[in-house]
């Protein structure tokens, strides 16, 4: 049974390489986008931390800024 699935009647190399390429592409894209997201979140947090009290209060008035601060790790 396992051998049949691996060999795929002689087409195993083609089938498995097509599926592997797809899954590797998915994984690579997911991690690239995740890295971009966490980089941008870190940048936001460090910028927010450098604001003085008054500016930080003004920034906190926006819902979206509060959401970003509460979602430091999205996934």
């Amino acid at each position: 049974m396992i051998n049949e699935i691996i060999s795929m009647n002689g087409y195993g190399t083609y089938v498995w390489s097509a599926f592997s390429f797809t899954l590797i592409s998915f994984t690579a894209l997911y991690f690239v986008i995740k890295l971009q997201l966490s980089k941008e979140q870190k940048r936001f947090i460090s910028k927010f931390g450098s604001l003085n009290k008054e500016k930080a209060r003004a920034a906190r008035l926006q819902n979206i800024n509060r959401e970003i601060l509460s979602n430091t790790s999205n996934i």
Binding site: I5, G10, Y11, F21, S25, L37, E40, E67
Partner: protein, 236 residues
Amino acid sequence: MFKSFEPNKIFATTSKAPKYVLFLFIVVLSIGLMEALVLSPEDYKQSDAVRIMYVHVPAAWISLGIFSSLALLSVGSFVFKNKNFALIAKSLAPSGFVFNIIALVTGSIWGKPTWGTWWAWDARITSMLILALFYGMYLLAWRIYENKEQVIKVTSLIAILGVINVPIIKFSVDWWNTLHQEASINILSTSTAIHTSMLIPLGIMTAAFALFSLLIFLMKYNTELIKVKNKGLNRL
């Protein structure tokens, strides 16, 4: 008209949604892979090589769908002067491009056992390659141009020009003599040339791929919104 779609209002949802979409994607993909690689029958002509269809076809469909959406959003950003449309389009493009590459590479892998060649300058394959070039130009334009107004104009133009290629891809197998087979599934008709035992895994894999593009879109869209907010903090 589009106030309910404003970034400030939808970020609460888009920032929480990815973890649920990722979970659903893993579940649907696992079922799809089981169906595609183990449970679905082999083809009477192509034998097990037909299983490549379960990654090749959904990837091609979704890359075409995403590019059509880019064009539609680009028209929308011109007509309604809504920059959020451009941001949505920008967030959709990376997964569309990757799906386009997957369709080309898996098609090439499928071509070797069925046609005896990795590549042919056939109408369907060439038009898909042209689509990949349009995707490449679109993504590159977002990196090259710094002026926001200018980049929206250039990317919209690329998307609108590129969408002309979409019906060419669709009808290339009818208009020209090609190695590529004709469409087996017609969404406008109930009849299909594919047996249910193959149609089910194809449907499940398409759903999994659609969930993956939604996941990437949400993560990229959140990244873009945070980028905008970072610029906003600079102005405080």
